[in-house]
Protein backbone atom coordinates (compact mmCIF):
# COMPACT_ATOMS: atom_id res chain seq x y z
CA UNK A 1 0.00 0.00 0.00
CA UNK A 2 2.24 2.81 -1.11
CA UNK A 3 -0.66 5.23 -0.82
CA UNK A 4 0.12 8.50 0.96
CA UNK A 5 -1.55 9.18 4.29
CA UNK A 6 -4.27 11.81 4.17
CA UNK A 7 -4.46 14.83 6.43
CA UNK A 8 -7.32 13.24 8.36
CA UNK A 9 -5.01 10.40 9.36
CA UNK A 10 -2.68 12.80 11.11
CA UNK A 11 -5.51 14.75 12.70
CA UNK A 12 -7.13 11.57 14.02
CA UNK A 13 -3.76 10.27 15.21
CA UNK A 14 -3.43 13.37 17.36
CA UNK A 15 -7.01 12.92 18.61
CA UNK A 16 -6.24 9.31 19.47
CA UNK A 17 -3.03 10.23 21.30
CA UNK A 18 -4.87 12.88 23.30
CA UNK A 19 -7.59 10.39 24.15
CA UNK A 20 -5.04 7.88 25.42
CA UNK A 21 -3.40 10.61 27.49
CA UNK A 22 -6.82 11.55 28.87
CA UNK A 23 -7.46 7.88 29.61
CA UNK A 24 -4.23 7.14 31.44
CA UNK A 25 -3.02 10.55 32.65
CA UNK A 26 -5.02 10.68 35.88
CA UNK A 27 -4.11 7.12 36.88
CA UNK A 28 -0.43 7.82 36.28
CA UNK A 29 -0.78 10.92 38.45
CA UNK A 30 -2.04 9.04 41.48
CA UNK A 31 0.50 6.24 41.03
CA UNK A 32 3.21 8.92 41.14
CA UNK A 33 1.66 10.67 44.11
CA UNK A 34 1.37 7.44 46.09
CA UNK A 35 5.18 7.45 46.29
CA UNK A 36 5.00 10.88 47.91
CA UNK A 37 7.44 11.49 50.78
CA UNK A 38 6.19 11.22 54.40
CA UNK A 39 5.60 14.98 54.56
CA UNK A 40 4.06 15.23 51.12
CA UNK A 41 0.47 16.27 50.49
CA UNK A 42 -2.40 15.24 48.26
CA UNK A 43 -1.11 17.19 45.26
CA UNK A 44 2.11 18.05 43.51
CA UNK A 45 4.90 18.95 44.11
CA UNK A 46 6.40 15.65 45.17
CA UNK A 47 7.92 16.12 48.58
CA UNK A 48 10.56 13.45 48.39
CA UNK A 49 10.08 9.91 47.26
CA UNK A 50 9.19 7.04 49.60
CA UNK A 51 7.18 3.94 50.28
CA UNK A 52 5.87 5.59 53.43
CA UNK A 53 2.22 5.55 52.36
CA UNK A 54 2.33 1.91 51.33
CA UNK A 55 3.68 0.86 54.72
CA UNK A 56 1.08 3.13 56.29
CA UNK A 57 -1.54 1.29 54.24
CA UNK A 58 -0.17 -2.10 55.24
CA UNK A 59 -0.51 -1.15 58.89
CA UNK A 60 -4.16 -0.45 58.23
CA UNK A 61 -4.13 3.39 57.89
CA UNK A 62 -5.75 3.65 61.27
CA UNK A 63 -8.97 2.86 59.45
CA UNK A 64 -10.28 -0.52 60.54
CA UNK A 65 -11.11 -3.27 58.07
CA UNK A 66 -9.11 -2.04 55.07
CA UNK A 67 -7.30 -5.36 54.79
CA UNK A 68 -10.61 -7.16 55.41
CA UNK A 69 -12.15 -5.24 52.52
CA UNK A 70 -9.27 -6.25 50.25
CA UNK A 71 -9.74 -9.89 51.21
CA UNK A 72 -13.54 -9.67 50.84
CA UNK A 73 -13.23 -8.27 47.33
CA UNK A 74 -10.67 -10.89 46.44
CA UNK A 75 -12.66 -13.96 47.48
CA UNK A 76 -15.87 -12.50 46.08
CA UNK A 77 -14.05 -11.84 42.80
CA UNK A 78 -12.66 -15.38 42.57
CA UNK A 79 -16.04 -16.96 43.34
CA UNK A 80 -17.82 -14.73 40.85
CA UNK A 81 -15.20 -15.56 38.21
CA UNK A 82 -15.55 -19.32 38.56
CA UNK A 83 -19.34 -19.19 38.53
CA UNK A 84 -19.36 -16.77 35.59
CA UNK A 85 -17.15 -19.03 33.47
CA UNK A 86 -19.10 -22.21 34.24
CA UNK A 87 -22.57 -20.71 33.87
CA UNK A 88 -21.64 -18.77 30.71
CA UNK A 89 -20.21 -21.83 28.96
CA UNK A 90 -23.28 -23.89 29.82
CA UNK A 91 -25.57 -21.11 28.61
CA UNK A 92 -23.51 -20.77 25.45
CA UNK A 93 -23.91 -24.48 24.76
CA UNK A 94 -27.63 -24.35 25.53
CA UNK A 95 -28.24 -21.56 23.04
CA UNK A 96 -26.74 -23.53 20.17
CA UNK A 97 -30.04 -25.36 19.90
CA UNK A 98 -33.50 -23.90 19.94
CA UNK A 99 -35.43 -24.29 23.17
CA UNK A 100 -38.64 -22.89 24.58
CA UNK A 101 -38.13 -19.64 26.46
CA UNK A 102 -34.88 -18.95 24.64
CA UNK A 103 -35.74 -15.37 23.78
CA UNK A 104 -36.97 -14.65 27.27
CA UNK A 105 -33.68 -15.80 28.81
CA UNK A 106 -31.75 -13.82 26.22
CA UNK A 107 -33.62 -10.59 26.89
CA UNK A 108 -33.40 -11.11 30.67
CA UNK A 109 -29.62 -11.36 30.27
CA UNK A 110 -29.46 -8.14 28.25
CA UNK A 111 -31.78 -6.41 30.71
CA UNK A 112 -29.59 -7.50 33.61
CA UNK A 113 -26.72 -5.76 31.89
CA UNK A 114 -28.33 -2.44 31.08
CA UNK A 115 -30.88 -1.72 33.79
CA UNK A 116 -29.64 0.82 36.35
CA UNK A 117 -27.48 -0.75 39.03
CA UNK A 118 -29.17 1.10 41.86
CA UNK A 119 -32.47 -0.50 40.84
CA UNK A 120 -30.99 -4.03 40.77
CA UNK A 121 -29.15 -3.44 44.04
CA UNK A 122 -32.22 -2.11 45.83
CA UNK A 123 -34.31 -4.98 44.47
CA UNK A 124 -31.93 -7.57 45.89
CA UNK A 125 -31.78 -5.75 49.23
CA UNK A 126 -35.59 -5.66 49.42
CA UNK A 127 -35.89 -9.31 48.42
CA UNK A 128 -33.58 -10.34 51.26
CA UNK A 129 -35.30 -8.03 53.71
CA UNK A 130 -38.69 -9.53 52.88
CA UNK A 131 -37.15 -13.00 53.16
CA UNK A 132 -35.66 -12.18 56.58
CA UNK A 133 -38.93 -10.81 57.86
CA UNK A 134 -40.71 -13.94 56.66
CA UNK A 135 -38.21 -16.28 58.35
CA UNK A 136 -38.44 -14.32 61.59
CA UNK A 137 -42.22 -14.29 61.60
CA UNK A 138 -42.24 -18.05 60.98
CA UNK A 139 -39.81 -18.43 63.90
CA UNK A 140 -42.07 -16.34 66.12
CA UNK A 141 -45.28 -18.01 64.99
CA UNK A 142 -44.08 -21.53 65.68
CA UNK A 143 -41.77 -20.59 68.55
CA UNK A 144 -38.71 -22.04 66.85
CA UNK A 145 -35.97 -21.03 69.25
CA UNK A 146 -33.08 -21.53 66.85
CA UNK A 147 -34.54 -18.83 64.62
CA UNK A 148 -35.64 -16.49 67.39
CA UNK A 149 -32.27 -16.59 69.13
CA UNK A 150 -29.81 -16.77 66.26
CA UNK A 151 -31.30 -15.68 62.96
CA UNK A 152 -30.20 -12.23 61.90
CA UNK A 153 -30.23 -12.01 58.12
CA UNK A 154 -29.59 -14.07 55.02
CA UNK A 155 -27.92 -11.07 53.46
CA UNK A 156 -24.18 -11.22 53.14
CA UNK A 157 -21.11 -11.05 50.97
CA UNK A 158 -21.47 -14.56 49.57
CA UNK A 159 -25.26 -14.59 49.23
CA UNK A 160 -26.84 -11.32 48.16
CA UNK A 161 -23.44 -9.76 47.39
CA UNK A 162 -22.40 -12.61 45.13
CA UNK A 163 -25.81 -12.57 43.44
CA UNK A 164 -25.53 -8.84 42.78
CA UNK A 165 -22.12 -9.33 41.21
CA UNK A 166 -23.35 -12.17 39.03
CA UNK A 167 -26.13 -9.99 37.59
CA UNK A 168 -23.30 -7.78 36.34
CA UNK A 169 -20.61 -10.30 35.31
CA UNK A 170 -22.87 -12.97 33.78
CA UNK A 171 -24.27 -10.88 30.90
CA UNK A 172 -20.73 -10.12 29.74
CA UNK A 173 -19.73 -13.78 30.00
CA UNK A 174 -22.87 -15.05 28.31
CA UNK A 175 -22.65 -12.54 25.43
CA UNK A 176 -19.00 -13.43 24.86
CA UNK A 177 -19.90 -17.14 24.75
CA UNK A 178 -22.75 -16.45 22.31
CA UNK A 179 -20.31 -14.65 20.04
CA UNK A 180 -17.81 -17.51 20.35
CA UNK A 181 -20.31 -20.27 19.56
CA UNK A 182 -21.78 -18.24 16.67
CA UNK A 183 -18.40 -18.57 14.99
CA UNK A 184 -17.80 -22.16 16.11
CA UNK A 185 -17.54 -24.72 13.35
CA UNK A 186 -19.72 -27.74 14.24
CA UNK A 187 -17.74 -29.93 11.82
CA UNK A 188 -15.14 -30.49 14.55
CA UNK A 189 -17.73 -32.01 16.85
CA UNK A 190 -19.28 -34.06 14.07
CA UNK A 191 -15.85 -35.45 13.28
CA UNK A 192 -15.32 -36.35 16.95
CA UNK A 193 -18.73 -38.03 17.14
CA UNK A 194 -18.13 -39.92 13.90
CA UNK A 195 -14.91 -41.24 15.43
CA UNK A 196 -16.93 -42.56 18.35
CA UNK A 197 -16.45 -39.90 21.03
CA UNK A 198 -19.13 -39.60 23.68
CA UNK A 199 -20.70 -36.17 24.14
CA UNK A 200 -18.54 -35.58 27.24
CA UNK A 201 -15.40 -36.60 25.34
CA UNK A 202 -16.38 -34.34 22.46
CA UNK A 203 -16.73 -31.43 24.86
CA UNK A 204 -13.63 -32.21 26.91
CA UNK A 205 -11.20 -32.93 24.06
CA UNK A 206 -12.58 -30.94 21.15
CA UNK A 207 -14.80 -28.05 22.19
CA UNK A 208 -13.07 -27.04 25.43
CA UNK A 209 -9.54 -26.70 23.98
CA UNK A 210 -10.95 -24.67 21.08
CA UNK A 211 -12.82 -22.21 23.28
CA UNK A 212 -10.12 -22.05 26.00
CA UNK A 213 -8.76 -18.60 25.04
CA UNK A 214 -12.28 -17.17 25.14
CA UNK A 215 -12.75 -18.66 28.60
CA UNK A 216 -9.70 -16.75 29.76
CA UNK A 217 -11.43 -13.66 28.37
CA UNK A 218 -14.64 -14.46 30.25
CA UNK A 219 -12.64 -15.02 33.44
CA UNK A 220 -10.90 -11.68 32.93
CA UNK A 221 -14.26 -9.93 32.67
CA UNK A 222 -15.61 -11.91 35.61
CA UNK A 223 -12.81 -11.00 37.97
CA UNK A 224 -12.15 -7.40 37.03
CA UNK A 225 -15.82 -6.45 36.86
CA UNK A 226 -16.45 -7.99 40.26
CA UNK A 227 -13.25 -6.60 41.78
CA UNK A 228 -14.25 -3.04 40.83
CA UNK A 229 -18.01 -3.34 41.19
CA UNK A 230 -19.55 -0.72 43.41
CA UNK A 231 -23.03 0.35 42.32
CA UNK A 232 -24.69 -3.06 42.59
CA UNK A 233 -22.78 -3.98 45.75
CA UNK A 234 -23.77 -0.75 47.45
CA UNK A 235 -27.08 -1.93 48.90
CA UNK A 236 -26.58 -5.67 48.59
CA UNK A 237 -23.44 -6.79 50.43
CA UNK A 238 -24.89 -6.52 53.92
CA UNK A 239 -22.58 -5.72 56.81
CA UNK A 240 -19.31 -6.43 54.98
CA UNK A 241 -17.45 -3.92 52.88
CA UNK A 242 -15.82 -4.51 49.53
CA UNK A 243 -12.74 -2.59 48.46
CA UNK A 244 -14.43 -0.11 46.10
CA UNK A 245 -17.08 0.67 48.74
CA UNK A 246 -14.33 1.25 51.29
CA UNK A 247 -12.42 3.47 48.87
CA UNK A 248 -15.51 5.51 48.17
CA UNK A 249 -16.01 6.02 51.89
CA UNK A 250 -12.36 6.95 52.39
CA UNK A 251 -12.47 9.74 49.78
CA UNK A 252 -14.37 11.94 52.18
CA UNK A 253 -12.51 11.06 55.38
CA UNK A 254 -8.88 10.48 54.39
CA UNK A 255 -6.77 13.50 53.51
CA UNK A 256 -3.34 11.93 53.01
CA UNK A 257 -1.74 10.21 50.00
CA UNK A 258 -2.47 6.86 51.65
CA UNK A 259 -5.66 6.75 49.59
CA UNK A 260 -3.52 7.00 46.45
CA UNK A 261 -1.42 4.11 47.76
CA UNK A 262 -4.59 2.06 48.14
CA UNK A 263 -5.62 3.11 44.64
CA UNK A 264 -2.23 2.10 43.28
CA UNK A 265 -2.41 -1.32 44.94
CA UNK A 266 -5.94 -1.91 43.62
CA UNK A 267 -5.04 -0.82 40.10
CA UNK A 268 -1.87 -2.92 40.33
CA UNK A 269 -3.91 -6.03 41.07
CA UNK A 270 -6.25 -5.25 38.15
CA UNK A 271 -3.27 -4.83 35.83
CA UNK A 272 -1.69 -8.05 37.06
CA UNK A 273 -4.91 -9.93 36.31
CA UNK A 274 -5.19 -8.32 32.86
CA UNK A 275 -1.58 -9.12 31.99
CA UNK A 276 -1.87 -12.72 33.20
CA UNK A 277 -5.05 -13.15 31.15
CA UNK A 278 -3.61 -11.60 27.98
CA UNK A 279 -0.35 -13.50 28.46
CA UNK A 280 -2.23 -16.78 28.80
CA UNK A 281 -4.18 -16.15 25.60
CA UNK A 282 -0.97 -15.34 23.71
CA UNK A 283 0.73 -18.44 25.11
CA UNK A 284 -2.14 -20.70 24.11
CA UNK A 285 -2.12 -19.27 20.60
CA UNK A 286 1.66 -19.68 20.30
CA UNK A 287 1.44 -23.30 21.39
CA UNK A 288 -1.27 -23.85 18.84
CA UNK A 289 0.84 -22.43 16.08
CA UNK A 290 3.66 -24.76 17.08
CA UNK A 291 1.72 -27.92 17.85
CA UNK A 292 -1.65 -27.26 16.30
CA UNK A 293 -1.26 -28.88 12.92
CA UNK A 294 0.82 -31.80 11.71
CA UNK A 295 -0.06 -31.12 8.10
CA UNK A 296 2.86 -31.66 5.80
CA UNK A 297 4.97 -33.33 8.44
CA UNK A 298 4.20 -36.79 7.15
CA UNK A 299 3.47 -39.84 9.27
CA UNK A 300 6.27 -41.41 11.21
Amino acid sequence: MGERRSLSFYVLSVVFALYVLFLYGPTITIVLLSFQGPRGGMTFPMNGFSLHWFSNLWQGIGVPYVVDALWNSFRLGITATILTVVISVLAGLAFRRRFIGQNLVFYATIASLILPSIVVSLGIALEFQVFDQAIKSVGDAYGIEAIQANYQTAMGLMTSGLGAHLTWTLPFGVLIMFAVFNRFNPAFEEAARDLGASSWQTFRYVVLPLIAPSLVGVALFGFTLSWDEIARSSQAVGADNTLPLMLQGLTTSVTTPVIYALGTVTTGISFAVILIALGTVLLVQRRRLRHGSDAGKGLV
Binding site: M1, S8, F9, L12, V15, F16, Y19, V20, L23, P26, T27, T29, I30, M42, T43, F44, L83, I87, L93, A94, F95, R96, R97, F99, V105, F106, A108, T109, S112, I114, L115, P116, S117, I118, V119, L122, G123, I124, L126, E127, Q129, V130, Q133, G163, A164, T167, L170, F178, D228, I230, A231, S234, Q235, P244, L247, T251, T266, T267, S270, V273
Partner: protein
Protein backbone atom coordinates in the same frame (compact mmCIF):
# COMPACT_ATOMS: atom_id res chain seq x y z
CA UNK B 1 -32.22 -35.31 17.55
CA UNK B 2 -32.94 -37.82 20.25
CA UNK B 3 -35.08 -36.96 23.22
CA UNK B 4 -32.01 -36.72 25.45
CA UNK B 5 -30.39 -34.19 23.20
CA UNK B 6 -33.48 -32.05 23.32
CA UNK B 7 -33.37 -31.87 27.11
CA UNK B 8 -29.68 -30.98 27.12
CA UNK B 9 -30.35 -27.32 26.32
CA UNK B 10 -32.72 -27.05 29.24
CA UNK B 11 -30.34 -28.25 31.93
CA UNK B 12 -27.50 -26.29 30.37
CA UNK B 13 -29.53 -23.09 30.57
CA UNK B 14 -30.78 -23.84 34.08
CA UNK B 15 -27.92 -22.26 36.11
CA UNK B 16 -28.25 -18.98 34.19
CA UNK B 17 -32.03 -19.01 34.57
CA UNK B 18 -31.78 -19.75 38.30
CA UNK B 19 -29.26 -16.98 38.99
CA UNK B 20 -31.11 -14.38 36.91
CA UNK B 21 -34.39 -15.53 38.43
CA UNK B 22 -33.27 -15.19 42.04
CA UNK B 23 -31.07 -12.14 41.74
CA UNK B 24 -32.64 -10.16 38.92
CA UNK B 25 -36.23 -10.99 37.99
CA UNK B 26 -37.54 -11.79 41.47
CA UNK B 27 -35.91 -8.69 43.05
CA UNK B 28 -37.60 -6.48 40.44
CA UNK B 29 -40.97 -8.09 41.21
CA UNK B 30 -40.40 -7.71 44.96
CA UNK B 31 -39.49 -4.09 44.37
CA UNK B 32 -42.65 -3.49 42.38
CA UNK B 33 -44.67 -5.04 45.22
CA UNK B 34 -42.84 -3.15 47.98
CA UNK B 35 -43.43 0.15 46.17
CA UNK B 36 -47.07 -0.26 47.25
CA UNK B 37 -46.23 -1.24 50.84
CA UNK B 38 -46.10 0.84 53.99
CA UNK B 39 -43.22 1.15 56.41
CA UNK B 40 -42.41 1.94 59.99
CA UNK B 41 -39.05 2.99 61.38
CA UNK B 42 -37.55 -0.48 61.26
CA UNK B 43 -39.62 -2.72 59.01
CA UNK B 44 -41.76 -2.76 55.90
CA UNK B 45 -45.29 -4.13 55.86
CA UNK B 46 -47.45 -5.52 53.07
CA UNK B 47 -50.25 -3.22 52.00
CA UNK B 48 -51.62 -1.70 48.86
CA UNK B 49 -51.20 2.05 49.06
CA UNK B 50 -50.19 4.54 46.40
CA UNK B 51 -48.74 6.95 48.96
CA UNK B 52 -45.18 6.18 47.89
CA UNK B 53 -45.83 7.26 44.33
CA UNK B 54 -47.76 10.29 45.52
CA UNK B 55 -44.76 11.09 47.68
CA UNK B 56 -42.41 10.74 44.72
CA UNK B 57 -44.42 13.21 42.67
CA UNK B 58 -45.26 15.46 45.61
CA UNK B 59 -46.34 18.88 44.40
CA UNK B 60 -45.73 18.13 40.75
CA UNK B 61 -49.31 18.95 39.76
CA UNK B 62 -49.97 21.79 42.19
CA UNK B 63 -46.75 23.72 41.51
CA UNK B 64 -46.98 23.42 37.76
CA UNK B 65 -45.55 25.12 35.68
CA UNK B 66 -42.80 25.46 38.31
CA UNK B 67 -41.01 22.14 38.34
CA UNK B 68 -41.31 19.97 41.45
CA UNK B 69 -38.23 18.35 42.99
CA UNK B 70 -38.62 15.07 41.11
CA UNK B 71 -39.03 16.72 37.72
CA UNK B 72 -36.10 19.03 38.43
CA UNK B 73 -33.95 16.04 39.37
CA UNK B 74 -34.91 14.19 36.22
CA UNK B 75 -34.32 17.29 34.11
CA UNK B 76 -30.84 17.62 35.60
CA UNK B 77 -30.08 13.92 35.10
CA UNK B 78 -31.31 14.10 31.50
CA UNK B 79 -29.13 17.13 30.91
CA UNK B 80 -26.08 15.12 31.99
CA UNK B 81 -27.28 12.26 29.79
CA UNK B 82 -27.52 14.39 26.67
CA UNK B 83 -24.17 16.13 27.17
CA UNK B 84 -22.29 12.93 28.04
CA UNK B 85 -24.00 11.04 25.21
CA UNK B 86 -23.01 13.68 22.64
CA UNK B 87 -19.40 13.84 23.84
CA UNK B 88 -18.88 10.08 24.10
CA UNK B 89 -20.52 9.60 20.71
CA UNK B 90 -18.25 12.08 18.93
CA UNK B 91 -15.06 10.89 20.66
CA UNK B 92 -16.02 7.21 20.49
CA UNK B 93 -16.93 7.44 16.79
CA UNK B 94 -13.68 9.20 15.94
CA UNK B 95 -11.59 6.62 17.83
CA UNK B 96 -13.51 3.68 16.34
CA UNK B 97 -13.15 5.16 12.85
CA UNK B 98 -9.43 5.67 13.37
CA UNK B 99 -8.92 2.12 14.61
CA UNK B 100 -11.02 0.51 11.89
CA UNK B 101 -10.21 2.48 8.77
CA UNK B 102 -6.90 4.19 9.35
CA UNK B 103 -4.78 1.51 10.98
CA UNK B 104 -3.55 -0.90 8.35
CA UNK B 105 -1.79 -3.53 10.44
CA UNK B 106 -4.01 -5.93 12.36
CA UNK B 107 -1.46 -6.28 15.17
CA UNK B 108 -1.20 -2.53 15.66
CA UNK B 109 -4.99 -2.26 15.61
CA UNK B 110 -5.29 -4.94 18.27
CA UNK B 111 -2.67 -3.25 20.47
CA UNK B 112 -4.31 0.16 20.16
CA UNK B 113 -7.76 -1.32 20.84
CA UNK B 114 -6.38 -2.98 23.95
CA UNK B 115 -4.88 0.33 25.03
CA UNK B 116 -8.38 1.82 24.87
CA UNK B 117 -10.11 -1.02 26.71
CA UNK B 118 -7.65 -1.85 29.51
CA UNK B 119 -8.84 1.00 31.79
CA UNK B 120 -12.33 -0.50 31.57
CA UNK B 121 -10.99 -3.43 33.59
CA UNK B 122 -9.68 -1.18 36.37
CA UNK B 123 -11.56 0.48 39.19
CA UNK B 124 -13.93 3.33 38.31
CA UNK B 125 -13.73 4.75 41.81
CA UNK B 126 -9.96 5.06 41.56
CA UNK B 127 -10.23 6.58 38.11
CA UNK B 128 -12.51 9.21 39.62
CA UNK B 129 -10.26 9.83 42.61
CA UNK B 130 -7.41 10.29 40.15
CA UNK B 131 -8.90 13.58 39.00
CA UNK B 132 -8.57 15.14 42.47
CA UNK B 133 -4.83 15.92 42.33
CA UNK B 134 -5.33 17.33 38.84
CA UNK B 135 -8.45 19.43 39.26
CA UNK B 136 -8.43 20.48 42.91
CA UNK B 137 -7.92 24.04 44.11
CA UNK B 138 -4.22 23.35 44.46
CA UNK B 139 -4.23 20.78 41.67
CA UNK B 140 -1.93 20.54 38.71
CA UNK B 141 -4.27 22.35 36.31
CA UNK B 142 -4.73 25.33 38.62
CA UNK B 143 -1.00 25.44 39.41
CA UNK B 144 -0.23 25.48 35.72
CA UNK B 145 -2.83 28.13 34.86
CA UNK B 146 -1.79 30.42 37.72
CA UNK B 147 1.88 29.79 37.01
CA UNK B 148 1.43 30.71 33.35
CA UNK B 149 -0.35 33.89 34.39
CA UNK B 150 -3.68 33.09 32.69
CA UNK B 151 -5.58 33.48 35.95
CA UNK B 152 -4.83 35.05 39.30
CA UNK B 153 -7.14 32.99 41.48
CA UNK B 154 -7.36 29.19 41.25
CA UNK B 155 -10.54 28.09 39.48
CA UNK B 156 -13.13 26.57 41.81
CA UNK B 157 -15.37 24.99 39.21
CA UNK B 158 -12.86 22.40 38.08
CA UNK B 159 -13.65 19.90 40.82
CA UNK B 160 -16.93 18.99 42.55
CA UNK B 161 -18.96 20.63 39.81
CA UNK B 162 -21.03 19.80 36.75
CA UNK B 163 -17.78 20.05 34.82
CA UNK B 164 -15.97 17.36 36.79
CA UNK B 165 -19.04 15.09 36.73
CA UNK B 166 -19.22 15.30 32.93
CA UNK B 167 -15.47 14.85 32.62
CA UNK B 168 -15.56 11.68 34.74
CA UNK B 169 -18.56 10.31 32.84
CA UNK B 170 -16.82 10.82 29.51
CA UNK B 171 -13.60 9.41 30.91
CA UNK B 172 -15.26 6.22 32.09
CA UNK B 173 -17.94 5.62 29.47
CA UNK B 174 -16.40 6.47 26.09
CA UNK B 175 -15.20 2.86 25.85
CA UNK B 176 -18.88 1.77 25.72
CA UNK B 177 -19.19 3.73 22.48
CA UNK B 178 -15.86 2.70 20.97
CA UNK B 179 -16.36 -1.07 21.25
CA UNK B 180 -19.81 -1.48 19.65
CA UNK B 181 -19.16 1.17 16.98
CA UNK B 182 -15.81 -0.39 16.05
CA UNK B 183 -17.54 -3.76 16.01
CA UNK B 184 -20.13 -2.48 13.50
CA UNK B 185 -17.51 -0.73 11.42
CA UNK B 186 -15.38 -3.87 11.19
CA UNK B 187 -18.28 -5.53 9.36
CA UNK B 188 -18.53 -2.85 6.71
CA UNK B 189 -17.39 -4.23 3.39
CA UNK B 190 -14.37 -2.17 2.33
CA UNK B 191 -15.42 -2.32 -1.29
CA UNK B 192 -18.46 -0.19 -0.40
CA UNK B 193 -16.17 2.55 0.82
CA UNK B 194 -13.96 2.18 -2.25
CA UNK B 195 -17.01 2.33 -4.48
CA UNK B 196 -18.11 5.56 -2.85
CA UNK B 197 -14.70 7.12 -3.44
CA UNK B 198 -14.58 5.84 -7.02
CA UNK B 199 -17.98 7.36 -7.68
CA UNK B 200 -16.53 10.69 -6.65
CA UNK B 201 -17.81 11.01 -3.11
CA UNK B 202 -15.75 13.20 -0.79
CA UNK B 203 -14.53 11.79 2.51
CA UNK B 204 -17.31 13.60 4.29
CA UNK B 205 -19.99 12.27 1.92
CA UNK B 206 -18.69 8.73 2.33
CA UNK B 207 -18.85 9.12 6.08
CA UNK B 208 -22.32 10.63 5.98
CA UNK B 209 -23.96 8.30 3.43
CA UNK B 210 -22.04 5.03 3.74
CA UNK B 211 -20.25 4.58 7.04
CA UNK B 212 -22.66 6.20 9.51
CA UNK B 213 -25.74 4.34 8.19
CA UNK B 214 -23.84 1.03 8.31
CA UNK B 215 -22.52 1.73 11.82
CA UNK B 216 -26.00 2.73 13.03
CA UNK B 217 -26.48 -0.42 15.03
CA UNK B 218 -23.22 -0.01 16.94
CA UNK B 219 -24.04 3.62 17.61
CA UNK B 220 -27.42 2.62 19.05
CA UNK B 221 -25.91 -0.08 21.29
CA UNK B 222 -23.26 2.32 22.56
CA UNK B 223 -25.91 4.97 23.16
CA UNK B 224 -28.05 2.56 25.18
CA UNK B 225 -25.06 1.72 27.37
CA UNK B 226 -24.00 5.30 27.99
CA UNK B 227 -27.50 6.65 28.53
CA UNK B 228 -28.59 3.91 30.93
CA UNK B 229 -25.37 4.21 32.93
CA UNK B 230 -25.75 7.96 33.31
CA UNK B 231 -29.51 7.80 34.00
CA UNK B 232 -29.06 5.43 36.94
CA UNK B 233 -25.79 6.79 38.24
CA UNK B 234 -25.26 7.86 41.81
CA UNK B 235 -21.59 7.01 42.35
CA UNK B 236 -19.98 9.34 39.79
CA UNK B 237 -22.37 12.20 40.45
CA UNK B 238 -21.83 11.70 44.19
CA UNK B 239 -18.04 11.51 44.11
CA UNK B 240 -17.31 14.05 41.40
CA UNK B 241 -20.14 16.37 42.39
CA UNK B 242 -18.97 16.52 46.00
CA UNK B 243 -22.30 14.92 47.04
CA UNK B 244 -24.00 18.22 46.15
CA UNK B 245 -25.63 17.44 42.82
CA UNK B 246 -28.95 15.59 42.70
CA UNK B 247 -29.67 12.75 40.31
CA UNK B 248 -32.43 10.22 39.90
CA UNK B 249 -30.19 7.47 41.28
CA UNK B 250 -28.92 9.56 44.17
CA UNK B 251 -32.44 10.34 45.34
CA UNK B 252 -33.09 6.61 45.64
CA UNK B 253 -29.84 6.08 47.52
CA UNK B 254 -30.68 8.86 49.99
CA UNK B 255 -34.09 7.34 50.65
CA UNK B 256 -32.55 3.92 51.22
CA UNK B 257 -30.12 5.29 53.78
CA UNK B 258 -33.10 6.92 55.50
CA UNK B 259 -34.68 3.42 55.55
CA UNK B 260 -37.64 4.67 53.50
CA UNK B 261 -37.61 1.50 51.45
CA UNK B 262 -41.10 1.65 49.90
CA UNK B 263 -40.56 5.24 48.74
CA UNK B 264 -37.17 4.28 47.35
CA UNK B 265 -38.84 1.34 45.58
CA UNK B 266 -41.47 3.64 44.05
CA UNK B 267 -38.75 5.98 42.82
CA UNK B 268 -36.80 3.05 41.44
CA UNK B 269 -39.88 1.90 39.50
CA UNK B 270 -40.24 5.41 38.06
CA UNK B 271 -36.56 5.43 37.08
CA UNK B 272 -36.95 1.98 35.55
CA UNK B 273 -39.93 3.16 33.49
CA UNK B 274 -38.01 6.18 32.19
CA UNK B 275 -34.97 4.08 31.28
CA UNK B 276 -37.13 1.46 29.56
CA UNK B 277 -38.80 4.15 27.46
CA UNK B 278 -35.42 5.45 26.33
CA UNK B 279 -34.25 1.93 25.50
CA UNK B 280 -37.47 1.22 23.59
CA UNK B 281 -36.74 4.27 21.46
CA UNK B 282 -33.16 3.23 20.71
CA UNK B 283 -33.79 -0.47 20.23
CA UNK B 284 -35.63 0.24 16.97
CA UNK B 285 -32.25 0.75 15.40
CA UNK B 286 -30.71 -2.60 16.23
CA UNK B 287 -30.92 -6.32 16.06
CA UNK B 288 -28.74 -7.30 18.99
CA UNK B 289 -28.42 -10.94 18.00
CA UNK B 290 -26.95 -10.01 14.64
CA UNK B 291 -24.23 -8.06 16.39
CA UNK B 292 -22.69 -11.01 18.21
Amino acid sequence: MTIRARWTSYWQATPLVVVLGIFFVLPLLVMLAVSFWTYTGYSIAPAFVTDNYRDAFDGCASQFPTLCTTFRTYASTLKFCVIVWALTLVIGFAIAYYLTFMIRSNTVRLMLALLCTIPFWTSNVIRMISWIPLLGRNGLVNQALVGAGFIHQPLDWLLYSDFSVILAFVHINTVFMIVPIANSMARIDRSLVEAAYDSGATGWQTLRHVIIPLAKSGIAIGSIFVITVVMGDFITIGLMGGQQIASAGKVIQTQISALQFPIAAANAIVLLAVVLMIIALLVRFIDIRKEL
